[in-house]
Symmetry: C2
Amino acid sequence: MSTSPLLAELIEALRCLPGVGAKSAQRMAFHVLERDRAGARRLAERLAAAVERIGNCRRCRGFSETEICTFCASAARDRGLLCVVESPVDQTAVEQATGYRGLYFVLLGRLSPLDGLGPKELGIDLLTERLAEGEVRELIVATNPTVEGEATAHLLSQLARDAGVRATRLAHGVPLGGELEFIDRGTLAHAFGTRQTLL
Amino acid sequence: MSTSPLLAELIEALRCLPGVGAKSAQRMAFHVLERDRAGARRLAERLAAAVERIGNCRRCRGFSETEICTFCASAARDRGLLCVVESPVDQTAVEQATGYRGLYFVLLGRLSPLDGLGPKELGIDLLTERLAEGEVRELIVATNPTVEGEATAHLLSQLARDAGVRATRLAHGVPLGGELEFIDRGTLAHAFGTRQTLL
Ligand SMILES: [Zn+2]
Ligand SMILES: [Zn+2]
């Protein structure tokens, strides 16, 4: 027996959030109803506004509230550098972790024929046009080191070569603070094979 | 630099949820925007509806969408049993874990003079009236075993005594599956002192 159908529906709806199971959804629902209704109201409004008004930039496909996003519109970013990422969350990771001051291109996926994701879905036409404009001098390939990400990286490097643009990619290796015994074999083998000269 | 002020506001608003820090709020925001906008829209609607329409039952103070909640209105519950809990989440815990078929009374807090929570705030007037109706034959005190919960339990047992109603409380002791060496001393001492006859 439940006190309220609306409460049960709220608990169910909270599970759309990643990492939120039945137990924590219940805890969240009770918490906001008992102690933070103002916060819940604000969250409802912002969720609705975000879903309604955040679309994708026409130039880079990243999240944007406007036709052209703040990155693409900025005069302060180096337009000669273009970092290609799979998703907006990767874009934010690069932006927050590095001092990168160039522009981005967001694929919104990676090559995955089984999921119906080919060059068309990844906006490769748009990227090809962009490289043809001649402004980009370095294409930084920042796809994820998965099988599909590697296939995507391969496609991107071909694209850059065809456009006469230099392509680079993020270095692979042992993560800082990582201990060798816990690194997966593939990474360790790669790091060993691409070892750097110290002296 | 951020792609969208609305996105930053959404991430901030998600932190009203318990256990959600900056990192997971960001992950949640990107997840719903990239992969589950329908789910996010539904969550926004249900949050707004719950905050708007879930109030407290006039009879038991538990969550309810109607003046009288489904528990209090049910003909199937034993009206002679009244379980007093501190909060709606405790009510749900009892309801989900036990086969209890009586009614509830929700204090919406516990005695805490420093926080301005006295008998008035806990609806003790309403509870006193309820006991005076003569229908309740057992008051089950299910406050939490904290200092404030114990003080509240003491108040409740006085109330029951004054009304000539039997008061009971949840048994304390070693949790099922708990190992003695990890039980806190107070609980262990209590469990030892109230040991039960086996044969
Ligand atoms: Zn853009
Ligand atoms: Zn009620």
